[in-house]
C-alpha cells in the first residue's frame, strides 16, 4: 500500500515539473515550427518573466489583488523582449545568414540576456513571494498539491487552445504556411514578418505563463535559472516531436515523469549500480532511444523527403 | 562481362505500398544491353517510384530485381550504384557548392584507389590518380560541352546545363544501366533536341542500357526502342512506339485523343487544342 502511495506521489512529482517543462516546450515548438530555429534564448525569456514577477508581486499584493495577477506585466515584458529579440537580432540574421548562424545568434542572445540581467539584478539568487495558496488534496495518505494540479490544467488548456488556434484560425494557418514555404505564403497574401513576430509574441507570452507556474513551484530567481530549464524543455519538445503542439505537452510530461521515476527507482532496480544522480543521463538516453526509433519524435510527422 | 543473352535489368513483380497506397504493383521489365526503353504514364502513375525501387531509395514490399544476373533487392543506394545502376533526378540534385568538375569527380570516387594515408601524405599515387581522374572528368564533360565550365560552381549553371551535368555525373559512376527521370522537363524544343543528341551519343559511346522517363512525346517516340506504360502503378501497355501510340488505353489514360501528331513529328499541325477546349466549355456551361 505504502509502495503504491509512494508510486502515485512520484507520478505527481513528475507531472509537476513535467507540466512546467511542457509549458516552456510549447514556446520552443511554436518558434521552431515557424522559423526552424532553436531559440536558445527561450529559457531566458522565462528568467525575464520571473524577474518581473519578483518585482511586481509585492506591489500587486499591496493593491489587494491576488499575486498571480503579476503574470500580466510579466506577459507584457516577455512579449516585448521576445519581439525585440526577433526584430533586432534574428530577423537580420535570418535574411542574410543560414540556419547555423541563426542558431549562434540565439545562443549569443541567451548569453546577452543572462549577463544583462546579472548586470542589472546581480548574480545572487532572490526569492519570489508565494504565488498560489491552494490547499492540497488528500486521498487518504496520499497528498496532492493544488499547485501541481493547477499547472497541469493550465498546460492542457494552453495546449488545446494553441492547437485550435493553429489549426483553425487564419493567423494559425498563416503560421503553418510561413513555416513551410515563405514565398508561397506571401503569394497567398500572408504577411510573413508580422506572422513571425506574432509567433514570437505568443511564444514569449507562454514563457511568462511558464515562469508563473515555475515560480509557484520553485520560488527563486537568478540570472542563470533559464539555462538548464530551457535545455530540458527543449529536449522535451524534441522528444515529443518538435513543431508539434501536443508533442510538446507529451514530451514535457514524459521528461518530468522519467526524471521523477528514475530518481525514485533506478537505484533499487539496478541494485545500486546506477543511482539517482544519473537521472539527467537517463533522460537523455531515453531521448536518444526515442529519436533512433522514431527520428521525428513521439508526435512528429516523418518528413521523409520525396525523391 | 556477362554473357550476351542475359538481360542487364530484370524486374519481376516489383511493388511498393505507401500507407495503403499501392504506388507500384506487379512491375515487370527486362532491358537488354544497349537498349533504350521508355517508361511513360500519367502523373502519379509510379514512374519515379520505380526508379526509387531500382536504386534502393525505397525497399520493394514485393518482387525482385536483378542487374546483370545479380540479385539487387535490399541493397543500399551506393551498393546499387556500384553494381551498375545510376540515375538522374526529376528535381535536379546537384552538389550545388561544388564545381562542375568536382561533381563528376565525386561520382568517380569508386575508381580512386588511394586511401587516407595517400591523401594526407600526398603520395605520388595520390597525384597520379588525381591527374588521371581530372583528365577523365574533362573528357566526360566534353561530351556535354561542359569542359569550359569545369571550375564553375554547379549552382551557377543555367538550368539546361545543370540537367546535362547531372547526366554526366551519373555516367561517371561507370554504370551499366542509366535511369533518366524527365531529363527534358523545363526545356524548350530546341534544347530538347540537343539533349536527344546527347542521349544518343552516350548510348552509342558507352554501350549502356537506358531507361527513360519523359513526358515529351517527341523525344520518347524518337529515341526509345520499346516503351512501357504505367497507370496507377500497373503496367497498362508495353511495346514499340507505334504500338503504344495507337493503344487506345494509353491514348485515353495518357496521350489524349490527338496524340498521333506528336509521333509524326509534324510540328505545325501539332497542337490544336481547340476541340477539347470546346468540350470543356460545354461542360462548364452544363453545370
Amino acid at each position: 500500500m505504502d509502495q503504491i502511495i509512494m508510486f502515485v506521489s512520484q507520478l505527481f512529482n513528475g507531472l509537476k515539473i513535467g507540466s512546467v517543462y511542457a509549458l516552456v516546450a510549447l514556446g520552443y515548438t511554436m518558434v521552431y515550427g515557424i522559423i526552424r530555429l532553436i531559440n536558445f534564448a527561450h529559457g531566458d525569456f522565462i528568467m525575464v518573466g520571473a524577474y518581473v514577477l519578483m518585482l511586481t508581486i509585492p506591489a500587486i499584493v499591496a493593491m489587494g489583488l491576488p499575486a498571480w495577477v503579476a503574470v500580466i506585466p510579466a506577459i507584457l515584458v516577455c512579449v516585448a523582449v521576445g519581439v525585440i529579440v526577433e526584430k533586432a537580432a534574428y530577423k537580420p540574421v535570418r535574411e542574410k545568414g543560414n540556419s547555423m548562424t541563426a542558431l549562434i545568434t540565439a545562443i549569443a542572445m541567451s548569453l546577452l540576456l543572462e549577463n544583462g540581467s546579472q548586470a542589472i539584478f546581480g548574480a545572487d539568487f532572490q526569492t519570489v513571494p508565494t504565488i498560489f495558496h491552494l490547499p492540497s488534496i488528500a486521498f487518504g495518505k496520499l497528498k496532492l498539491s493544488g499547485d501541481t494540479l493547477l499547472t497541469i490544467v493550465i498546460g492542457l488548456v494552453i495546449m488545446v487552445g494553441l492547437q485550435l488556434f493553429v489549426k483553425f484560425t487564419k493567423q494559425g494557418k498563416a503560421m503553418r504556411a510561413v513555416s513551410e514555404d515563405k514565398e508561397a505564403a506571401v503569394l497567398m497574401g500572408v504577411n510573413v514578418n508580422s506572422t513571425i513576430a506574432l509567433t514570437f509574441a505568443i511564444g514569449s507570452g507562454l514563457a511568462a505563463v511558464a515562469s508563473l507556474m515555475y515560480c509557484a513551484a520553485y520560488p527563486q530567481v537568478s540570472p542563470m535559472m533559464g539555462a538548464m530549464l530551457g535545455l530540458k524543455a527543449f529536449v522535451a519538445a524534441v522528444l515529443g516531436g518538435i513543431g508539434s503542439i501536443p508533442g510538446a505537452m507529451i514530451g514535457g510530461l514524459a521528461i518530468g515523469l522519467i526524471e521523477s521515476l528514475t530518481k525514485a527507482y533506478i537505484g533499487t532496480v539496478t541494485g545500486g549500480l546506477i543511482t539517482s544522480a544519473f537521472s539527467d543521463a537517463i533522460v537523455f538516453a531515453i531521448l536518444i532511444i526515442v529519436l533512433l526509433v522514431k527520428p521525428s519524435g513521439i508526435m512528429g510527422k516523418n518528413e521523409g523527403e520525396k525523391v | 562481362m556477362s554473357n550476351d543473352t542475359q538481360p542487364i535489368l530484370k524486374a519481376e513483380h516489383l511493388g511498393i505500398t505507401f500507407g495503403g497506397l499501392k504506388a507500384v504493383s506487379d512491375f515487370n521489365m527486362t532491358i537488354n544491353k544497349g537498349e533504350l526503353v521508355g517508361l511513360i504514364g500519367p502523373n502519379g502513375a509510379g514512374k519515379t517510384t520505380v526508379f526509387n525501387l531500382l536504386t534502393g531509395v525505397y525497399k520493394p514490399t514485393e518482387g525482385d530485381f536483378w542487374l546483370d544476373g545479380e540479385h539487387m533487392n535490399g541493397k543500399k543506394t551506393y551498393q546499387v550504384v556500384r553494381a551498375g545502376i545510376a540515375r538522374t533526378f526529376q528535381n535536379i540534385r546537384l552538389f550545388k557548392q561544388l564545381t562542375v568538375e568536382e561533381n563528376v569527380l565525386v561520382a568517380f570516387d569508386e575508381s580512386f584507389s588511394y586511401h587516407m594515408g595517400g591523401a594526407i601524405f600526398r603520395t605520388p599515387g595520390f597525384w597520379k590518380q588525381e591527374h588521371e581522374m581530372h583528365e577523365k572528368a574533362i573528357d566526360l564533360l566534353r561530351i556535354f560541352n561542359l569542359e569550359g565550365l569545369a571550375a564553375t560552381q554547379a549552382a551557377n549553371l543555367p538550368y539546361g546545363q545543370q540537367r546535362k551535368l547531372e547526366i554526366a555525373r551519373a555516367l561517371a559512376t561507370g554504370m551499366k544501366l542509366l535511369l533518366l527521370d524527365e531529363p527534358a522537363a523545363g526545356m524548350n524544343p530546341t534544347e530538347t533536341e540537343d539533349l536527344l543528341h546527347c542521349i544518343n551519343t552516350i548510348r552509342d559511346r558507352f554501350g549502356i542500357a537506358i531507361l527513360l522517363i519523359e513526358h515529351d512525346m517527341s523525344l520518347v517516340m524518337s529515341v526509345c526502342q520499346r516503351i512501357q506504360v504505367l497507370d496507377y502503378g500497373r503496367t497498362i501497355a508495353s511495346g514499340t512506339p507505334e504500338q503504344i501510340a495507337n493503344n487506345p488505353q494509353v491514348i485515353s489514360a495518357y496521350l489524349g485523343s490527338d496524340s498521333n501528331d506528336d509521333v509524326d513529328g509534324d510540328s505545325t499541325a501539332k497542337v490544336e487544342p481547340e476541340p477539347s477546349i470546346a468540350k470543356t466549355i460545354q461542360e462548364e456551361g452544363a453545370r
Binding site: D2, M6, S9, Q10, N13, K16, I17, N115, Q118, G122, A123, D124, F125, Q126, T127, V128, T130, K143, S145, A217, Y218, P219, Q220, S222, P223, M224, A227, M228, E259, S260, L261, K263, A264, G267, T275, S276, A277, F278, S279, D280, A281 | -
Partner: protein, 370 residues
C-alpha cells in the same frame, strides 16, 4: 625550454611603490557567479576598511580583480596574468574547488601565495603556496556527524547530495563515513545529478520512507532554502535537516516554521557576542551593501585581513615568498573565528552550529577542533 609551462619568470615581485596590489580570481559569471560575487563584496569591504585606516604598512591597498567564469582554463589564464604582474603580492581566490584545483599547481610553481576563501575540497591541498580560509569538506562532515550523534542524539541518518558538485559530494561522503564510524545508521543515501537541481521530491520521499531521523543535505543556501527543505517537509519529513556552511544566508520561502529543526555548521554567528569582529562586520557590510552578508562574504573579508596580517609581518619590502612564509602557520583572529594554519594550508578552526528558529539562524553551540 621556453615551451615548458613550468617555468616561473617573476618571483622578483616586491611590495615596492606606494600601493600594495592584491590579486583576486573569482567566479563572477556563469552558474556559480553568486558565490564569487559575495566573495568580492567581502574583499572590497575589507579593502575599503583597511584603506580608511591607513592601509598596510602605510601603503594603500588595491585589488586587481579577475573573473574566471567558473572555468579552469579561464582561471589559470587569469591567475597567470596576476603572476606576471609584479605588483601583485598575494592572491585571494579562486571561488570554487574546480578552479582552485587548476590554480593550485600554478601557485606552487610561480611561488605566489594564494588564499582560497571558500574552496573546501579536501584534495586541493598542496601544503605549499595554496591556503584556504574555510574548513575543508571532511572536517565539516565529521563535525556535523558528531553533532548529530552527540547533540541531537539521532540514530538513523540519511544523506542527499549532488554528485556533480565537488563540495556537495565531498561533504556528503565525509558525513556518511564519519556517521558510520560514530555508530549511526545511514539508512539512505540519495544523490542528484547536480547541486543546482530544483526538484528533489523523489529522493526525499525515499528518505522519508527510510525512517531517517536526520537528513544531511550538503547544498548551497540557494538550493536548500527554497527547494530541499520545503520539499522535504511537503513529503512529510519532519525530522532534522542538517547542512554545511553553504546554508549560510539560507533563502527562505513560504512558511518560516518549516525551517525549524534545521541546523548547519558554519564559521560565525550573528549573535556570537564573544566575537566583536562579527558584529562590526555585519554592521559595516549592511551599511555598504544594504544586504545581509553570507559565509562567502565573511570568508572573503577574512581572507583579505589574513593577507594584510601576513604582509605586515613580512615587512615593508616583502617579496611574494616572504608573504607566503608569513601565512604558513599563522594564527589569525577574524570574523570566521580564531584559527591556525596547518601544514597542508587549511585552518584548524572551531565550528559554529546554528539552528533555524522561525526563519532566523540562532547560535546553538561551538564545536572545538580536536
Amino acid at each position: 625550454s621556453g615551451g615548458s609551462m613550468d617555468d616561473s619568470s617573476s618571483s622578483s615581485a616586491k611590495a615596492s611603490g606606494d600601493t600594495i596590489t592584491i590579486g583576486t580570481v573569482t567566479t563572477n559569471s556563469g552558474t556559480a557567479a553568486a558565490y564569487g560575487e559575495a566573495e568580492v563584496k567581502g574583499f572590497e569591504l575589507a579593502v575599503s576598511e583597511i584603506n580608511a585606516k591607513g592601509g598596510i604598512n602605510g601603503k594603500k591597498v588595491k585589488l586587481e580583480s579577475m573573473d574566471d567564469k567558473g572555468d579552469a582554463t579561464e582561471a589559470s589564464n587569469a591567475y597567470n596574468k596576476l603572476v606576471g604582474d609584479n605588483n601583485v603580492l598575494a592572491v585571494a581566490g579562486p571561488t570554487i574547488s574546480a578552479t582552485t584545483a587548476a590554480v593550485a599547481p600554478l601557485a606552487d610553481q610561480s611561488k605566489l601565495v594564494t588564499i582560497a576563501p571558500a574552496a573546501t575540497s579536501d584534495s586541493i591541498e598542496t601544503g605549499n603556496y595554496l591556503f584556504r580560509t574555510c574548513f575543508k569538506d571532511s572536517y565539516q562532515g565529521e563535525v556535523a556527524a558528531r553533532f548529530a550523534a552527540e547533540n541531537l542524539k539521532v540514530k538513523k541518518v540519511a544523506v542527499l547530495y549532488g554528485t556533480g558538485d565537488p563540495y556537495s559530494s565531498g561533504v556528503g561522503e565525509a558525513f556518511a563515513k564519519a556517521a558510520e564510524k560514530l555508530g549511526l545508521e545511514v539508512v539512505d543515501k540519495e544523490s542528484s545529478s547536480s547541486a543546482d537541481d530544483t526538484e528533489y521530491s523523489a529522493q526525499l520521499q525515499k528518505i522519508q520512507a527510510s525512517g531517517a531521523e536526520l537528513l544531511y543535505a550538503p547544498y548551497y543556501y540557494s538550493v536548500a532554502g527554497p527547494y530541499i527543505i520545503p520539499q522535504a517537509r511537503s513529503v512529510g519529513f519532519d525530522g532534522y535537516v542538517m547542512g554545511p556552511d553553504g546554508y549560510d544566508g539560507l533563502k527562505l520561502t513560504g512558511d518560516k516554521a518549516q525551517y525549524n529543526k534545521t541546523y548547519y555548521t558554519t564559521h560565525y554567528s550573528a549573535d556570537d557576542n564573544t566575537n566583536s569582529k562579527v558584529q562590526d562586520f555585519i554592521k559595516s557590510y549592511k551599511s555598504k551593501n544594504n544586504a545581509e552578508p553570507n559565509t562567502f562574504a565573511a570568508l572573503g573579508y577574512d581572507t583579505i585581513y589574513m593577507i594584510k596580517q601576513a604582509i605586515e609581518k613580512a615587512g615593508k619590502n616583502a617579496t611574494r615568498e616572504d608573504v607566503r612564509n608569513a601565512v604558513a602557520g599563522m594564527t589569525f583572529d577574524g570574523v570566521t573565528g580564531k584559527f591556525t594554519m596547518d601544514k597542508s594550508g587549511s585552518p584548524t578552526k572551531s565550528v559554529i552550529v546554528l539552528e533555524m528558529k522561525d526563519g532566523k539562524p540562532v547560535y546553538n553551540t561551538t564545536v572545538q577542533p580536536k
